[in-house]
Amino acid sequence: MTTILMLVQLVLLLSLVLVTVRLLRGPSLVDRAVASDQLALRVVALIVVHSMESDQPFLIDLVIVTAIVGFLSLAVIGIYIERIVRSKKQDELGDVL
């Protein structure tokens, strides 16, 4: 069981590294927003697996808060980009788009 848990954590860590590469390299702001949301999701998965490994079920409560905050930040970034572009003030964003 410990071996399988270690393998699962290793695979999740590898996917975390791949997402981080996209987060650093992403050409546009939307790429970075998607990558940071995926990063939060993998961290959630790691916390859930860790709560099972160390037998601490109260960590699940923490994860619910992380999920809701991650969704809100994603929606706010999307609405922000849309509003900036509609009001023709793209200079504020520079060349990130």
């Binding site: 399988i4 699962v8 975390l16 546009s28 998607v34 993998r42 969704f71 999307g78 509609r86």
Partner: protein, 108 residues
């Protein structure tokens, strides 16, 4: 290792591998929209598998309800967030891959 532990291990491993596949898609695809297509759906499925595995491990009613609530939160918020971001990217005219041959949102 009894049977329950084996099932839990297989579920966790499937979830982690699906997440790895989705992050490979996030890294390799050529376009914002393609990357969202790869990442959003697959990683929601992967976290669903992991939640089922952990719920089987603890076997506690309250904790199972919490994990189901978490899965429902993800299954409802991931499409909404992806929709908002994709429409923002389309309005901001983020470049698409050159193989794109249809853009229905642009024709209206």
């Amino acid at each position: 290792m009894n049977l329950t532990n084996l099932v839990i291990g297989i579920l966790l491993l499937i979830g982690a591998l699906i997440m790895l596949l989705s992050s490979v898609g996030l890294l390799r695809f050529g376009d914002v929209f393609l990357r969202m297509h790869a990442s959003t759906k697959a990683s929601t499925l992967g976290i669903g598998f992991i939640m089922v595995g952990v719920a089987l491990y603890f076997g506690d009613a309250l904790l199972t309800i919490k994990l189901i609530a978490l899965a429902v939160i993800y299954f409802f918020t991931a499409p909404i967030g992806a929709q908002v971001l994709a429409s923002a990217a389309h309005i901001a005219r983020v470049p698409m891959v050159k193989e794109t041959w249809i853009d229905e949102l642009n024709e209206r």
